[in-house]
Amino acid sequence: MKAIDDLLLQFPYATVEQKDKFYSVSVPKENIHETASALRNNDTVPFDFLIDIVGMDYGDTLGVIYILSSSLYPTYILRLKTETPEREDPLLDSLHELWDSAGLYEREVHDFFGIRFINHPDMRRLFLRQDWKGYPLRKDYDADPAINPIPMDNEDLDDMENIPVIEVNHGQKFEHQHKLFEADEYVVNFGPQHPATHGVLHLRVSLDGEIIKKIDPIFGYIHRGIEKMCETYAYPQMLHLPDRMDYVSGPINRHGLCLAIEKGLELEVPERAHYIRTIIDELGRIASHLLGWGCIAMDMGAITAFVYGMRDREKIMDIFEETCGGRLMANYSVIGGVMADIHPNFQRKVKEFIPYMRKMLKEHHLLFTGNPIARDRMDGVGYLSKEKAIALGATGPTGRASGWSNDIRKIEPYAAYPHVDFKEMLRTDGMTFDRYVIRLDEIAESLHIIEQLIDNIPEGDYAAKTKAVIRLPEGEYFQRVENARGEFDVYINSRGDKYPYRVKFRSPSMTLVNTLKAIAVETKVADLIMLGGSLDYVVPCIDR
């Protein structure tokens, strides 16, 4: 696009590559801040959405890739790269003031690559314990258990509260620490084991009576190192991992990874496989939204609604079991198509499910949407403006409830989405109620999509033939899919090997927890739990 080309001409020091709608901009590390702020704060194409930050270990240098997009031109993606040859104490400029989501992503990079960000207000580790030795995603990381033995004592709370900050002034480096909470603050731990944290999320909340003053989310209780595992797996072996990240909408994640690999292989996937995958994805989305609906109701104390949600979800699980062979871990997409053809009963069962779900949707609305207690609690609480949603990278239903059109199914239609007619659900108020009701609306829309596809599955192969050993050509591959919670992205860096060089998944849930941190301040304890439910994050997706 010309506007972007013009914009990039401002940076004489940058090397620019372009491939279709992907721009790759490499800049020296001294210019990163200047470049990023020019990209962020311009009037023609403001790159206001930071999709993800990928840390890289190139072997001799360490690098960071900022994947940017603009809410005005969401199809264009710009990769801003920088490197540092320093491996002992690598320092880069922090960009946290340009995008609200950058702070958390930079902590992740710090945790795994040891890159410290200058002026970042909070340079603690994100996932690992503060006393962990080494940086696991570096290529020279020593995984010897003798270096990091299984700890038998609790993590020191003081350690968790001491926030290191690095500042550089006239070439002089200053390091100092400050405390997160004052000594007399009333700090309550919500989690890691708590009835309403949707997994093992640990929120440390400072309270004034019932009013929330400060939130500090702590991740990593179930971190499995999926990205590191991927580096040792062949491509087909990787496939079972994304299912286990966001386990509630697993098929969509797996679909995303398959699409990314297929993109790299330039593999022609049969239409039939595309249709089947899309139907399975939408069923997964309905299942996920039903659970999300049940969870927000349960977080507000209506346990019955949760059981109703689970009851309806069971129908989908049954369809999954019959066709995919797994219930929660459907494990259905493979590179080049799907694992097996649809079960003879599949179409009949799905067609039975659609009217059932429509009827139940009406009941769900009657039971909960109209309920004055629920309405009162959700209206006017947890306001998220559109600008804030973009800055926080709160994609998916959360962003759409604030009026940010960010549906990847519309922006970059993949699989069978170009062939179906559906609306992107958008609301404008950005309140908790909008986030709640948009999920039910999306269930209705998903049913509409499935209805169009289920009778029109084209005949043909269900999977394309692939080679026995899959090698991705050298290069970077990036695929965006619309998960039930937001944008799920797969970034694969291949060096032409059997194994990927680096894999990064963008977890939509991570930014949602960051959103919670932003919108829950000055609300009440009961609202915190409800807001968590309305954002509907899944912790295993954060703790990859």
Partner: protein, 353 residues
């Protein structure tokens, strides 16, 4: 009509025949104590089973169905379990207050329980200020909850206790005011007399619209007093894990548990007594044969039937609605229930005049 009065009077006469006044009273006190405690715990078991079953049915489930036929022995098994459970010693609690709290809660509940007229003469405490007594004694429970929350030395329990304090004290008001409406109508505070006055027609019919409004308000406020959803803020499972009794274990927790269920029964029983005629059968003036048939049903059954009807209403509400937030809870009381019940008393007074 068979009344338990006959039995109780017979026991009384028998004892007095053979023993002196003091011994008679002593034996009667012990008897009453034993009976109350037994009925109390048996009712609790029934209620727990009932709640689990009803809740399951609302949720499209079957509920307990493993222990005994239809799982009827489930709550007995649970009781055995809770009796055998270790009482975990918590390090930094205030030991005296911590132990005292659960007794306070259960004592308040038992004291109230004693004042309920199950049948003519089947009532342990029958003061002439019965209604007043009920309100007074049941509010001891608040103290227990506050102490439990405070002494546990836990942040969840403290928030739970503070919420509970605010909630119970506010809802006590409309609870009292709605009962007052009936006191105005009947002109007495003695529970047995309130029941007697409903021989021809229950107060909910007699008192026209004000009585109906008072009944509904009493059900709401009473439900809130039992700390059960949608008013379960002090416990608020999804927010405060278990609220004020987070730290309790074993039978100490069991006391809170028992008291919670029995409070539900007590509230329903008072509603039944004051508004639905207690043990009085359904009488419709003019329908003599119908009234005759109704009289054949024992009064205790009438009483229990009405009470369980109220309990079912409470369960229905409990399992349908989300929990209120603390500010909603208080504005519901002070902005809606309180004004309505005040106006209601005024109406009732005009009606009586």
């Amino acid at each position: 009509m068979f009344h338990f009065e006959v039995v109780t009077n017979w026991i009384d006469a028998l004892l007095r025949e053979h023993l002196s006044e003091g011994w008679t009273l002593l034996i009667e006190f012990i008897l009453i104590g034993v009976v109350i405690l037994t009925v109390y715990s048996v009712l609790a078991l029934i209620l727990i089973y009932l709640e689990r079953k009803v809740c399951a049915f609302f949720q499209c489930r079957i509920g307990p169905n493993r222990v005994g036929p239809f799982g009827v022995l489930q709550s007995v098994a649970d009781m055995v379990k809770i009796l055998l459970k270790e009482i975990i010693k918590i390090n930094k609690v205030d030991p005296f207050l911590f132990r005292l709290a659960c007794y306070l809660v259960i004592i308040a509940s038992i004291c109230t329980f004693g004042a309920i007229p199950f049948d003519k003469g089947l009532q342990a405490v029958d003061f002439n200020i019965g209604v007043f007594y009920l309100l007074a004694v049941s509010s001891i429970g608040v103290v227990g909850i506050l102490i439990a929350g405070w002494s546990s030395n836990n942040k969840y329990t403290l928030i739970g206790a503070m919420r509970s304090g605010a909630q119970l004290i506010s809802y006590e008001l409309s609870c009292g005011l709605s009962l007052l409406a009936i006191v105005v109508l009947s002109g007495t505070m003695q529970l047995s007399q309130i029941v007697e006055q409903q021989a021809d027609a229950w107060f909910i019919f007699k008192g026209h619209i004000p009585a109906l409004i008072a009944f509904i308000i009493y059900l709401i406020a009473g439900h809130a007093e039992t700390n059960r959803g949608p008013f379960d803020l002090p416990e608020a499972e999804s927010e405060l894990t278990a609220g004020y009794h987070t730290e309790y274990s074993g039978i100490q927790f069991g006391f809170f548990y028992l008291a919670e269920y029995l409070n539900m029964f007590i509230i329903a029983a008072i509603a039944a007594t004051v508004f639905l005629g207690g043990w009085m059968p359904l009488h419709i003036p003019g329908w003599e044969s119908f009234n005759g048939i109704m009289d054949y049903i024992p009064p205790v059954l009438w009483f229990l039937g009405k009470t369980f009807f109220c309990i079912f209403l409470a369960l229905w509400v409990r399992w349908s609605f989300p929990r209120l937030r603390i500010d909603q809870l208080l504005s519901l009381e002070w902005k809606i229930l309180m004004p309505i019940s005040l106006i209601n008393i005024l109406l009732m007074t005009l009606l009586v005049l």
